[in-house]
């Protein structure tokens, strides 16, 4: 009975994971398909992987996705970290107001954020394109940075910064040498979250560009009506494998690190 129960427990998670990965498996398998559709298997081929790199449209969309993710999260890190340091010093009501307004892009439905930004761009007659895409991504990225840095600021001893000033450090030196290093873990979390959000986003990108510039997700969307090209499956497979590798590498490193620490503690 106990055994049966344990089997069921493992089985339940396994079924869930199976369903979660079924479509991903399907995509990966069919990226090696000779034929053009996911309806029929016509034999193993690496053709789509070769074709992928010759496709200028896909390569450009990939470039847009990566560069927007990198740029928007870098800008978000700078603006967001400074904002968090400032907001932390605010008095009660300006602080509450700013924090609540910062929650808006995080809580609002993506589609409403996208539409409201589109209205702004239309109203201010800003032509839709790479620039508006960058603005939109930075806009939804900054709150993630602020909310990962703020808790670190609260944990930190406020006297540290004051002490540096008393010892004769200029404010900018104290910020660079005392404040920023203390906040680094929060800043890194914020950066990774922002990068991920930007990389994954479809809805806000779609509305803020009106399809005039394509990143990967809007390009996939434009193909979804007519059928997705297997080259995209090949690209997703490559990216997915990269992410898994990255995760394994960081996990193994973290493991080694913690084991080393344990050893040192024992000594």
């Amino acid at each position: 009975m106990v055994r049966l129960k344990r089997f069921f427990k493992r089985f339940y998670l396994a079924i869930l994971l199976f369903f979660l990965y079924l479509p991903i498996l399907m995509l990966m398998v069919y990226s090696f398909n000779g034929g053009k559709t996911m309806a029929k298997w016509t034999g193993f081929s690496l053709n789509w992987y070769v074709e992928l790199f010759k496709d200028p449209v896909i390569m450009e969309a990939l470039g847009v996705t990566l560069s927007i993710a990198l740029l928007s999260s870098l800008i978000a890190v700078v603006v967001g970290t400074l904002a968090a340091i400032g907001i932390n010093e605010y008095k009660k009501w300006p602080k509450t107001l700013t924090i609540n307004l910062t929650y808006v892009p995080m809580m609002n439905a993506d589609i409403v954020t996208g539409i409201s930004l589109l209205l702004l761009f239309i109203f201010m007659r800003i032509p839709r394109g790479y620039g508006t895409l960058l603005i939109a991504h930075t806009a939804f990225n900054i709150p993630y940075v602020i909310f990962s840095v703020l808790p670190k600021l609260r944990q930190m001893d406020p006297n540290l910064y004051e002490a540096a000033l008393d010892m004769g450090a200029t404010p900018s030196y104290a910020v660079r040498k005392v404040l920023i290093p203390e906040l680094m873990p929060g800043i890194m979390t914020g950066f990774i979250m922002a990068f991920t959000m930007s990389f994954d986003d479809f809805v806000i990108s779609f509305f803020s560009t009106q399809g005039l510039v394509n990143n990967l997700s809007t390009y996939i969307y434009s193909m979804a009506r007519v059928g997705i090209n297997p080259k995209i499956n090949a690209l997703s497979t490559i990216m997915f494998v990269c992410i898994i590798t990255l995760l394994i590498v960081t996990n193994v490193q973290a493991n080694r690190h913690s084991k080393k620490q344990q050893k040192q503690q024992r000594i």
């Binding site: 990965y21 479509p23 991903i24 907001i87 605010y90 307004l101 702004l120 996939i220 979804a224």
Partner: protein, 277 residues
């Protein structure tokens, strides 16, 4: 320079790109420019946003989102519980496995489900081997809800799991020692303690589900349009900014209502934590 001023660039940014856009939604929803250039107040757009057609889409979306949220909760809760009972190392690897699919574009995953659920797709072929006639799965209401549950499940699972990992298990042991049976432990101890996770999960699933678009179109065809699809049509196809803004306004009001409700329950749950004793 005072540290306060560090926030200045962000304050300017926030006013420009968070506050202004929301004000513009209101402006476009309620004001109209006449051909002569006058700006006049009108409720005409709001009236067309509340037309019977769009209301029927709204009810359907709310219904789908509700079913999706309930299903996600019923599926994710036991999973989170099981996950938290595993050895820490196995649990951390498995929880990572639940997050990983989110790194594959959701459009692509939904598109792959189309191929899987197809009348001639792998699932029907498998059923055929078992002697079951092929089922029409794609382009049904069931397919749309399946797609939504598939997409939002991790957003329900992760917050509940994280509450489980932080939970002090000595409460459970104490309840057991004091003679509570398994049912009582679940309903009187575990459930109240994990309420914050459930609330976060519901907020992360319900409203996003109401406003999704494309999932319904890809898996349900043209028959099961959701509110997000309606909004997209209004903006991208008809380019009717005014009616579109009025529809977006409905969405914003819904969000405010649901957040107020959640906040109320969240408060109750923290009080509930003390009421336990």
């Amino acid at each position: 320079m005072k540290k306060k001023f560090f926030a200045l660039p962000y304050i300017v940014w926030m006013i420009l790109f968070t506050v202004m856009p929301l004000i513009l939604v209101l402006v476009y929803a309620f004001f109209n420019t006449t051909p002569s250039g006058d700006v006049i107040f009108t409720t005409e757009y709001l009236a067309s946003a509340f037309s019977p057609e769009s209301l029927s889409v709204l009810w359907r979306s709310l219904g789908y989102a509700l079913i999706t949220t309930v299903l996600c909760l019923l599926i994710a809760y036991p999973a989170a519980l099981l996950l938290s009972r595993l050895k820490p190392r196995t649990a951390s690897i498995l929880s990572l496995l639940f997050i990983l699919p989110m790194w594959m574009n959701f459009l692509l995953r939904t598109y792959a489900w189309r191929a899987l659920l197809d009348l001639n797709g792998p699932i029907n072929q498998l059923l055929g081997l078992l002697g079951i006639p092929a089922q029409q799965m794609l382009y049904t209401e069931g397919a749309v809800i399946f797609g939504l549950v598939y997409n939002f499940l991790p957003f329900m699972l992760l917050p509940i799991y994280s509450v489980f990992t932080k939970m002090n298990t000595s409460y459970i042991e104490a309840a057991e020692d004091l003679g509570a049976n398994k049912r009582q432990v679940l309903f009187r101890v575990i459930l109240p303690l994990t309420r914050p996770g459930i609330i976060t999960g519901i907020t992360m699933v319900f409203m996003p589900a109401v406003s999704t678009f494309i999932i319904s179109r890809l898996l349900g065809g043209a028959h099961y349009m959701m509110f997000g699809d309606l909004l997209e049509n209004q903006f991208m196809l008809l380019k009717d900014w005014n009616t579109g803004s009025a529809l977006a306004l409905i969405m914003m009001i819904l969000l405010i209502i649901s957040m107020a409700l959640m906040r109320k329950y969240d408060k109750d749950s923290t009080e509930g934590g003390t009421r336990l004793w």
